[in-house]
């Protein structure tokens, strides 16, 4: 279902849930766990997208580890033009690059915050958006105590 009419990856706008390297990432999100690969050799987090060998040392052994879900905004933008029909009613909407505390970066959305209040360096934490076919990791500002 995540393939186009020629059997290739991903319908436009959808994740590719069956991608072999990324399958556990999407399965774990279904259980509200944000996970990443950690190299069994150099102990570093692989980063995203997932891949078969460690990008730091090319070792092939790794474990999926659950991350804290905390991170910081590296940069953020606001789409004022919908490139995809399903975003017609959502503009302007935020898209952010979030650097996760343990390593790795995601393209994601900051929620529970107006787009104009998102800031570089802002501390954020993961929230899980459950859709019928998959769960997307999104982020909200960490409340100042």
């Amino acid at each position: 279902m995540s393939k186009d009419e020629r059997g290739r990856a991903a319908r436009r706008g959808q994740p590719y849930l069956e991608e072999p390297e990324a399958k556990p990432f999407w399965a774990n999100l279904r259980e509200h766990k944000l996970t990443a690969q950690r190299c069994s050799s150099c102990q570093k987090i692989f980063g995203f997208p997932p891949q078969a060998l460690c990008p730091h040392c090319l070792a092939s052994d790794y474990q999926w580890v659950t991350l804290s879900g905390k991170g910081k905004i590296y940069s953020h933008i606001a789409y004022h033009r919908p490139w995809h029909p399903s975003y017609q009613d959502k503009v302007p909407y935020n898209v952010s690059l979030v650097d996760l505390d343990e390593g790795g970066r995601l393209v994601t959305n900051v929620v529970d915050c107006p787009p104009e209040e998102v800031r570089i360096g802002m501390a954020v934490e993961v929230v899980f958006e459950d859709l019928p076919e998959y769960t997307l990791p999104k982020f909200r500002p960490v409340k100042q105590v």
Binding site: R6, A9, A10, R12, G13, Q14, P15, Y16, E19, G47, F48, P49, P55, Y74, S75, H76, I77, A78, Y79, H80, R81, W83, H84, Y87, K90, P92, Y93, V95, L97, G104, R105, L106, V107, T108, N109, P115, I120, Y134, L136, K138
Partner: protein
Amino acid sequence: MTNLSGKCAIVGMGETVVGKRPDATTNSLHLEAIKTCLDDAGINASQVDGLLTNQPLNDSHRSYAVKLAHMAGIDPSFATDLALGGATPIAMVQHAVMAIEAGMATTVMCVHARKRSTADPTPGYPIRRGDEHWEEPWGHFAAAGGHAFAAQRHMYEFGTKSEDLAHVAVSTRKHASLNKNATLRKPITIEDHQQSRMIVAPLRLLDCSLESDGGGAVLVTSVEHARDFPKRPVAILGMGQHHPHFGLLDAPTLTTLGGKKSSEMAYRMAGLRPRDMNFAQIYDCFTITALITLEDYGFCKKGEGKDFVKDGRISIGGELPLNTHGGLLSQAHLEGQLHITEAVKQLRGNEVEPERQVANAKVGIVSGHGGSLAMHATLILGAL
């Protein structure tokens, strides 16, 4: 290692009419570019023995360089498609130099064309970058978005403002207004830029380049053969590339790009410095791209691009005329192929509208930039 500076030259160049070409196809635009280039060089196809092209964005064009060679009557001993996005046209010239110096070809056609303004009737499916499914589920679809991330970050780190980017758009449009083969020729003001609608904040409509139909080509040969051609040859003095990341997810920074190392390599090869350049044709898919590249190329310090682009410094007659043809922003977006042909014309002299000619143009620098701000290539060219 031999220094290849000045060993090869561009001896022919061609540009098609750009803009909306509803009756053209991807194939016809490539052939038109080849034809105009051969005519300019005063030779026929049988005298060309190498062909390089940019992988078309449609999967029905496989091994396109070979197909195109035979469609044009070229029997190549050296041919391939390169795939470095908007860095490809410059990389083609670099590969041509390497092939000629390696003895694999003597005369190499480097051609690029696109049909992105009007529908391309070519059957097949679009080629994609391959990591879009790590962006699109969150609503990130466009090159404008990737460059808006860089602009936001540049604004945060260095205090650059949208009004600063406007200076790039205004100066570039002024140059396009002087170019008969430019798509957008009506001059604009800083205020026009500031009032243009937001596309992906912080980038506005007038920060964005065009989508165009058209093509261009250059012909490369050794300097020994260069004098056999009718037009003034343009020497290839410096070359560089650097590709510091692939996607937004592995980019170590978005405010210094591949242009830094790529230009350092090209300056070293040419034995020249930024202040030796009489003009710069800098890849301007967005205003921010040009501003970051001017910094990376050493024309000003990192973070000072916002001041460098003001006070007419980047206009014809200024300290460093930038994109004298109108660039991707206002002339046409053909992945920078026309940045190269424009540099060739400026260095030949007497080939552009007189008000667009950079006085005493002897040396210029050209940049290419592709993918998710990922790929970069540099050429330094000089009049012979």
